[in-house]
């Protein structure tokens, strides 16, 4: 038989909003590093000679950063909506920033 103990009064539930904010910053940092790693791989593969090659590297690098940024936003939004919908507190009052 499964027994569920009541939560200890001194144990506070995890602040998932704060953790999500930390996740947003750390994942943004990883994303920047991954984009730069991709550019480094491009430079090592294509070389750095010629305007056209340099232009391709810049365009691919920025496109990768843009695409990764959009994926990052979609993930953050999905997590944000999940945390927000599971919050049991009441809502109301006038809007703020």
């Amino acid at each position: 038989m499964r027994h569920i103990l009541p939560p200890h009064p001194e144990v506070k539930p995890m602040d998932r909003g704060f953790l999500l904010a930390i996740y947003s910053v750390v994942s943004g940092w990883i994303l920047i590093l991954m984009s730069l790693l991709l550019i480094k791989m491009l430079i090592m593969t294509l070389g750095t000679k010629g305007f056209l090659v340099a232009l391709i590297e810049v365009v691919v690098g920025f496109s990768a950063l843009g695409g990764a940024l959009y994926l990052w936003y979609l993930t953050l939004r999905a997590l944000f909506l999940r945390v927000k919908s599971s919050s049991k507190e009441g809502h109301g009052g006038p809007g703020g920033t």
């Binding site: 602040d15 998932r16 909003g17 704060f18 999500l20 904010a21 930390i22 947003s24 910053v25 750390v26 943004g28 940092w29 920047i32 590093l33 730069l36 790693l37 550019i39 480094k40 430079i43 340099a54 810049v58 940024l69 959009y70 936003y73 953050l76 939004r77 944000f80 909506l81 945390v83 927000k84 599971s86 919050s87 507190e89 809502h91 109301g92 009052g93 006038p94 809007g95 703020g96 920033t97």
Partner: protein, 337 residues
């Protein structure tokens, strides 16, 4: 002989940095004392919407913060013989003026970011910028063509990011301190002393403002303050070629700015966003339960539970400090030099 000369040079820079800090701190304190009563008597006040009784708070304090920075920088540029500092004063001054116009008569949501390219152009023509940024993993890059686009983008993104962060009492100055303090060793390691003393002078200008802007706020900075601070950070990053590291340390500012832009689907003025990211009830701030509400850093922090203004600001400071430390670690551990 050489060590002695280097020691004297270092002592001179330390003295100049300390002097820049003291000058901007004293000037900012005096300007705040002179400006705030005039703002009140002139009826330049705004409602603090996050307080239950919605008190009226004088705004904008931007002139006191910018002018103290400018005075300090002009004196130091004469002592140090560095003309690039005059470029920084001019460039940040233009950003301050754009913000002041916006404070007096709101600019359009697309006009403001476009206008913020002008301070970048002014800094570029001042002649002190070398388009060779240090990049994590890659090392020192040569971006002779694309750099100027990056510089203009950086001014717009930093200024708007700082502007978005100026939402709660004391949040903007405290998060600027927390995210950029870990970058001081980076500037010292690179020997970028002009950037170092500009950053320290910015701290000096912001301290008297922070004392008055922290909870419960006695003054608001306005766009003139936040756009100036954003432009100052962009200028310091460009002077020291540490653009990428400033971008990493200001990640919480970007998260807020980018999430709002992406979730509302374009450029809109804060006052024109119909569904607010958060709701306020009895001094407790919560993420707006509406699924269509924009995502901001404050909404993320309050997504699981309602929080007081002071608690949110403390958490933003912790997050800013984390991003600052990440940036510093990226420079020392992941950047070839």
């Amino acid at each position: 002989m050489l060590i002695g000369w280097l020691l004297i040079k270092m002592l001179a820079w330390i003295s100049l940095t300390a002097l820049a800090m003291m000058l901007s701190l004293i000037a900012s304190e005096l300007f705040h004392r002179a400006l705030i009563p005039r703002l009140v008597s002139g009826g330049h006040v705004s409602e603090d919407v996050h307080k239950p009784n919605r008190p009226k708070v004088p705004e904008p304090a931007g002139p006191a913060v910018y002018l103290s920075f400018a005075v300090s920088m002009m004196i130091i540029s004469q002592l140090a013989g560095s003309s690039v500092l005059e470029g920084v004063v001019a460039s940040t001054g233009l950003a301050f003026l754009i913000g002041l116009v916006d404070d007096l008569s709101p600019l359009g949501p697309k006009t403001k970011p476009l206008l913020l390219i002008l301070p970048a152009l002014l800094l570029a023509v001042s002649g002190g910028i070398v388009p060779r940024p240090y990049l994590p993993i890659l090392g020192r890059a040569r971006l002779y063509y694309t750099y100027w686009v990056v510089l203009a983008t950086m001014f717009t993104v930093f200024s708007n990011g700082v502007n978005m962060m100026d939402a709660l009492n004391g949040m903007m100055p405290s998060s600027v301190f927390a995210s950029t303090l870990p970058l001081l060793p980076v500037l010292i390691a690179l020997g970028s002393y002009t950037s170092l003393l500009s950053l320290v002078a910015l701290y000096g200008s912001l301290i008297p403002y922070y004392v008055r802007n922290r909870y419960p706020a006695e003054v608001f900075g306005g766009d003139s303050n936040s756009l100036f601070v954003g432009a100052a950070l962009a200028s310091i990053a460009a002077m020291s070629n540490t653009e990428a590291f400033f971008a990493i340390s200001l990640l919480p500012f970007m998260v807020s700015g980018f999430s709002i832009l992406a979730s509302i689907g374009g450029l809109l003025e804060r006052r024109d966003i119909r569904t607010r990211p958060v709701t306020v009830e009895g001094g407790i701030i919560r993420a707006n339960p509406n699924r269509e509400a924009p995502i901001s850093l404050i909404a993320i922090l309050t997504s699981s539970e309602g929080k007081t203004e002071s608690r949110i600001v403390k958490e933003v400071v912790i997050i800013s400090l984390i991003s600052g430390v990440l940036s510093c670690a990226t420079f020392f551990l992941l950047t070839p030099r």
